[in-house]
Every structure is written in C-alpha cells, then in structure tokens.
C-alpha cells in the first residue's frame, strides 16, 4: 500500500516536470500542440494525487500502522468518522491535501478556460504548474506521507483530541484550499503579464476564482471561530493568534481584490492596482503557509508544525520577488483605459475600501512579525497580543463598516453632492431612530453604541436600495407584485446584489462581535454539587458529575441547570476528557444559545476532593448572529458567481 502511495506522488512529480518543460517549450517556440500537451499534464496531476490521497485514507481505515504518519495520527480506539480529520492532522498529510486540492481546482479552472492555446494560456498554466510542482516536490523529497516505520507498532498514538470536533471536518480543508487556490487568480494575472497580453481577459476568470478562494477562506475562518468558541473554553472565538492572522491577512487582501476587480471589469480602470492586489494576496497566502509550517512565531495551531519552515520561506521569497519582478517588468503595459471622473464615485470608494483593508492587513502582519523584530533589535522579545490588534484594527474595521453603508449608494463614474445626500437621507433617518432606540435600551458604552449604529446603517442603506429598486421595477412592469420585482432585481445584477447579501452577513457578524465584546459577563466559580451560582439574571446550579472511562480517555460530564428568575430554562452538560497519551485535558463548553444571548459554561477542573469543580460562566450576548452570518456569506457569494444566463447575454449583445 505505502509503495503505491509513494509511486502516485512520484508520478505526479513527473507529470508536473513534464508539464512545466513542454509548456515552457510551447511558449518559447509558439507551438500550440506542446501547450495543449502541458494542459493535459495539469489535468492528469489530480488523478495521481487523488490516488495518493485515497491510499492514505485507506491506510487510516485499515489501521496500517506500518506507515509512520498513520501511526502518529490515528489509533485503534479513534472513532472511524475522524479518519478524514486525521488525514490532514499533521504536516505530511495536510501537504498532500493542499497539493491535491490545488491540482484538482487547477484542473477545473484550466479545463473551464475557453482558450487552450497561445501565450496567455501557456503562461497561466506554467505558473500554476510551477506552484503545484513545488508542493509535489516537497511531498516526494521532504515530507513523504507514506514513509514507513522500521517495525509496525501495535497501536498508533491517536488523533489530537482538540481536533475531534465536527468543525474540523470542514474548517481545515476550507482554509487550506482557500489559501492555496489564490494561486489560480494569481496565475491568471501572471499569465497575462508574462505573455504581455494585458487586455482584460484575465479579469473574469480572476474574479470568479478569486471569489471562490475568498468565500472558502471566509467560511473557513468563521468555522474556526466556532471551533475555538466551543472547544478552547475561554468563551471567545478569535484571539489574533499568529496562525489565525496568517489566514486572515490573505482574506483581507482578497476582499480588497474582489471589490477592486469589479472596477476593472466595468470601467477598465485599476489594471495596475489589481495585479498588485493579487500579488499581495498570494504572497500573504504563502506567508500564511510558512507561519503554519514551523514559522518562527509561537501559536496554538501547532498541528501542522514541522521543520520545513525554511522550504516555505524560500517559496515565499520566490513568490514575492517573482511576482513583483514580473509586475515591474510589464509596468508600462498597465495603463488604465479610462480615468477617474469624480471623487464621489464608486470607483474612488473602492480605493478607500482597499486602503482600509490593506491597512488592517498591514497592522496584522506588523503584529505578527514585531516580536521577531524586537528580539533581533533589542535582544528581548516583546509580545504582541490581542489588545494591540483590537486597539489598532478595531477603529479601521469600524470605518470599513461605515464605508460599507455609503459606498454602494455612490453610483459608478460620478455623482453630485445633492444626489448623494438624497440617497443617504432615508437610511440616515432610519439609523437615527435605531440609535435613539439603543439609547432607550440602555446601550450606553460609546464604542458599542457607535459600532451598533454604523452596522445598522449598512442594513438601512441596503434595504433602501432594494425597496427603491423593487418599486421602480414594479412601476415599469405595471404591477404590484413586489416580491417578483425583488427577485428580478436580484437576478438582474448578481455581482452587486450578491455583494449586498454578503454585506448583510458581515453586519450580522459585527453585531455578534460588538455584543459579545462589550456586553459579556464572565465569572470563575467553584461549586460543590447542589450549589448555585448567579450570573446576570441567571442562576446556574451544579447537579454533579458523571465519570466514564474509555480506552484512550476519561470523560467527565458536569450536569448544569440553568434558571432565570427561578424558572428552569434548560439543563446542559459541560464536558471534559483527560487524554493520558497526550497529557491533555480537552473540554467542550455547555452552550445554551439564543438570538439574544448565549449561556456558556466551561468545566475547567475537578477539585482535589473529587466532587466540587471550577467553572467559568459567561453570558455572551448576540453570539448566535455570528454563526448566522455564514449562510448569508455563502448565499451572497453563490449569487454573485452565478453565471449570466443566455437571456441576459442576448440583452448584452443586442
């Protein structure tokens, strides 16, 4: 079995090397048959890597502990369902996953391309193959997932208990895939630059795959937050940990990109800037992979850590130097077709959006690398933790939210002051009403008040657009069925209204963050069975623990009764398990979630007497809305991506 896996990886490497050579030759000597052959190599690589993936999964299912990787990340007592998680729980397996998902998505992107000849296509495919080839090379030389142990152990070490969570089925694959497939819009842009065919051809494909990478990263980050919330047990969901930041920065870059690329699509502007943005995003992605694989900063996400940091540092260096080198080489080609007509236009609001997003990304990057700089510079390491990021990024994110309300109201090209004020009037009025309502409900903390109001303003401005649009469509259609008009409106301009739906998701996320950051209650208590603690309006009674021993762990469940003003609300279980082989205590908080607030109970530890226990109690307002944001982001992205139907194309060409 192991030999088959190794073979498959080597076949993928041969295919990549062949593809790179033949594509390069085809590019150099203008031979379309060679270029086509290179395309076939790209299409074949995922088959080889898919086979390797299959072999590794089967090895896990068969408990083949002769393979070192399987022995390290699985055990006989591991529930079979976690096979898939164990597959990417460590360095080698996750690299195989990254290589496979990149090659798979690349094959789809390459076969979707309408043209498969010529320099532009060849250069795009070449860049993709180089990136895929790099990962396959690392897999076959430095991190073979199929390397075998000299003697087969009876049982494996088992899966890291922190990973036995439903979120782990989707969070890591989404983050890894999202990060790496930035390579696709990146190679589209590079292909355009290298071939010198810098028309706007790469824009459609770049936008399409950019949106897909962006939404995968976004949903992956959200699932990661959910995982942290339920399992890490401090009641929070985001800690500005270096590895979180490493995935957050490319997401910010891609957010800027998917906005800015629309300006090129519609107006032919920002051609230079969009290349810079995709270069930055992919470089940040490469930086993320470097940090995750044994980069020099400490993090809680040390699952994939390895000694391969230097390899990915080289990858990062080549990415940055190569992409910006090509960019400067072709700088003269990148003149915009049209120029800015007015400062008060959607074009310029997108530039402000880009500046803000990149500022957040820069601050985050600075925070990640500053401890290293301080160590090199002064010899003492200074820590850059949560408060730093909250203080510096918080205000910028708030301004971004305000911009999210104003920007969409500005039309393309130009607008007059009067029309802007006209468009803002109703949303601002509704927002003012909301603001007063907040005051009446005793929301008095200034920052929370401003943030809530700004977020609501976004909802008001989107609603106005939708209501006005639906009414005017109904008018012109001569009927009063506003629902039909609304659907027509949405499908009439999918990129725009898909974007609005995503914006609604972001606002819901903001509501959850503001509510839980500013209005949470927190208490650490020691309770004996039968005792009750009070937090906010709730009384929380500890009814006792049950203990169940397993082969690999001892599980303890604390039964908690939550009452509000004397009436029982719910009974929930706070759970913890001691894993001796990992010398690790894994916890699962008891959460009673409602749209208004979460009651969150963490079973910290059992006291030496074996009966009383330490609990962390939290009331987290509005957290529920954060998870609701996910479906909005997915729905909005799908709408924005949905291809234009034939009917609409006819309208375009007529």
């Amino acid at each position: 079995m192991a030999e088959l896996g190794t073979m498959a990886v080597i076949v993928a490497l041969i295919l990549a090397v062949y593809g790179i050579s033949i594509t390069f030759a085809g590019f150099k000597f203008q031979n379309d048959r060679w270029i086509l052959s290179g395309k076939r190599a790209t299409l074949a690589i995922p088959i080889a890597l898919g086979l390797a993936t299959l072999v590794l999964v089967l090895a896990f299912l068969n408990n083949d502990f002769s393979i070192k990787y399987v022995a390290q990340h699985s055990s006989l007592s591991m529930p079979r369902i976690y096979t898939w998680v164990a597959f990417y729980a460590g360095n080698e397996g996750s690299l195989l996953f990254v290589a496979f998902s990149l090659s798979f998505v690349s094959a789809i992107a390459i076969s979707r391309s309408k043209i498969s000849t010529g320099n532009h296509f060849a250069a795009t495919n070449l860049v993709l193959l180089l990136i895929i080839g790099f990962f396959v090379l690392v897999l076959s030389v430095l991190a073979n997932p199929f390397s075998q142990l000299p003697s087969t152990p009876v049982d494996g070490k088992g899966i890291n208990p922190l990973l036995t969570h439903p979120g782990m089925f989707i969070h890591p694959p989404l983050i890894m895939t999202g990060l790496i497939i930035i390579a696709i819009p990146f190679s589209n842009a590079m292909g355009a630059l290298i071939s010198g065919q810098i028309d706007d051809q790469w824009v459609d494909s770049g936008r399409f795959w950019g949106l897909i990478a962006w939404s995968m990263l976004g949903i992956g980050l959200l699932l990661g937050a959910w995982w942290a919330y339920t399992i890490l047990g401090w009641g929070g969901y985001w800690a500005w940990d270096p590895v979180e930041n490493a995935a957050f920065m490319p997401w910010l870059g891609m957010t800027a990109f998917i906005h800015s690329i629309m300006v090129q699509k519609r107006r032919g502007m920002f051609r230079l800037w969009n290349i810079v943005l995709i270069n930055i995003s992919f470089s940040l992605g490469a930086f993320g992979i470097f940090i995750n694989r044994g980069g020099p900063v400490p993090s809680v996400h040390s699952f994939g850590a390895s000694t391969l940091g230097w390899v990915f540092l080289i990858f990062l260096g080549i990415t940055v130097l190569g992409s910006f080198g090509i960019f400067f080489y072709r700088l003269a080609y990148l003149k915009s077709k049209t120029s800015l007509e007015s400062y008060m236009s959607r074009e310029s609001s997108f530039l402000v959006n880009n500046l803000l997003l990149l500022s957040v990304a820069f601050i985050t990057l600075w925070g990640v690398v500053f401890p290293l700089i301080s160590e090199l510079w002064t010899g003492t390491t200074l820590t850059v933790g949560e408060p730093f990021f909250n203080k510096l990024n918080g205000p910028l994110l708030l301004v971004l939210i305000v911009l999210m309300g104003v920007g969409p109201l500005l039309p393309w090209r130009r607008s007059t002051r009067k029309s802007v004020i006209n468009a803002l009037a109703i949303p601002l009025l509704i927002t003012l009403v909301f603001f007063v309502t907040l005051l009446l409900y005793k929301i008095h903390k200034p920052v929370a008040l401003i943030s809530f109001t700004a977020s609501f303003f976004v909802l008001a401005s989107i609603s106005q657009e939708w209501v006005r649009g639906s009414i005017s469509l109904s008018k012109s259609g001569g009927h009063h069925n506003y629902l039909i008009s609304f659907i027509k409106l949405l499908s009439g301009n999918r990129p725009r209204y898909g974007g609005y739906i995503v914006h609604i998701g972001i606002v819901l996320l903001a509501f959850g963050i503001i509510g839980s950051q500013f209005y949470n209650l927190e208490k650490d208590v020691i309770l004996s069975p039968g005792q009750t603690a009070t937090i906010g309006n709730y009384q929380i009674k500890f009814s006792g623990t049950t203990t169940v021993p397993f082969n690999d762990r001892t599980e303890r469940t604390a039964l908690m009764e939550v009452s509000k003003n004397g009436t029982l609300v719910t009974r929930i279980n706070a759970w913890q398990a001691l894993y001796p082989s990992f010398s690790m205590l894994s916890t699962r908080a008891a959460i009673h979630s409602t749209p208004k607030e979460d009651i969150y109970i963490m079973f910290s530890e059992l006291q030496p007497d074996g009966k009383s226990a330490v609990f962390r109690l939290l009331i987290n307002p509005l957290v529920w809305w954060m998870w609701v944001a996910g479906p909005f982001v997915i729905l909005g992205t799908l709408l924005a991506l949905w291809p234009i139907s034939r009917k609409n194309i006819q309208i375009e060409t007529s």
Binding site: G233, A239, Y343, W366, T380, F388, W412, S415, G469
Partner: protein
C-alpha cells in the same frame, strides 16, 4: 480642496449625531462601577487579558487552561483583594517573567515602534491615495470624457436594471 471638504462633510453628517447623543453616556458608564463585585471581577479579567501565559504559545491568561495560568489568575485576584493596583500587579509579573509577559508592547523604547509604525503607514497610504486620485482625475483629456459619455449609453444597454436603479437613486424620492 473639494475632496476633503466633501469627505469632511459626509463624516460630520454621520458622526456628529453619534457624539452628541453619546455625551451623557460617560456618566452612565461610571454608574456600572457602583456594584463593587462586578468592578473587582472586571479589573481581574482586564488583567487576565493583558498578561500572557508564560508557557503556552500565543495565549493570554484569560484564554489559557494550563495550571500555571490558573495559578497566575489566582495571584492576580489575591493581589487585587490586597489593594494592589493593576499597574503594580503587571510590574510584579514583568519582574518575574520579563517584558514578554505583557500582551501588548509597552509604549516606550522598542515597543513604541510597534505602536507608531501603523498610524504612520496608514497616513502615508492615505496621502498616496489622495495623490493617486488627483493624478487619475487630472489626466482626463476631453477625448476620454467623450468616449466616456458614449460608454454611459452602452452601459445602460448592458445593464438595464442597474441603470434603472441608478436613475431612480439620482432622481431621489419623487
């Protein structure tokens, strides 16, 4: 300058009501401190957030579930109960573990760089943005404006819906 004026005006429109109405809130906030129990616990949690766990990478005391973090949380609460100020407590932990125990860099010495660079970078970015916008606008020769207005017409054909909505927004409520 035209752009700064309009930006200023828009931000005034947006923010002034907030600030006026949030003025009385400063009083409301202090009233929360009336409850001595909650203020003690808030102070303690604040400190948990400002100190790192010395052995767990990247986690603050508040986040970490290790024994040492639990012990340090206990020390914080004891010291607070003994009347020590948050700054005294932080200095105590710095004297034991060094500067790296603080969750954010100090605003002096090398730490100052951490705080100073981001605003500097943002303002540089803003400056470049304004210059770029001005340059992009200035270079508009008449020919481009004309082809641009042609583009408006094709734009409308391309996208009847968006044009209709934009029209509607421009005309305002009628």
């Amino acid at each position: 300058m035209h752009i700064t004026q309009s930006v200023l005006r828009i931000s005034l429109i947006i923010f002034v009501p907030f600030f006026i109405l949030s003025l009385p809130t400063t009083h409301a906030e202090t009233s929360q401190l009336d409850n001595p129990d909650s203020s003690f616990e808030n102070q303690a949690i604040n400190l948990d957030n400002q100190l790192m766990c010395p052995i767990c990478p990247g986690e603050t005391l508040r986040q970490s579930q290790t024994t040492i973090a639990k012990q340090m949380r206990g020390i914080i609460r004891n010291k607070l109960a003994n009347g020590e100020s948050p700054d005294q407590i932080k200095n105590y932990f710095v004297s034991v573990y060094g500067q790296s125990i603080l969750a954010e860099p100090p605003s002096e010495g090398a730490g100052l760089l951490a705080w100073a660079l981001p605003p500097f970078a943002i303002f540089t970015g803003l400056f470049i943005l304004i210059l770029t916008l001005r340059a992009m606008k200035k270079k508009t020769p008449d020919s481009i404006v004309q082809s641009g207005s042609l583009e408006i017409n094709t734009q409308k054909q391309l996208d009847p819906f968006i044009a209709m909505v934009d029209e509607e927004l421009k005309s305002g409520r009628d």
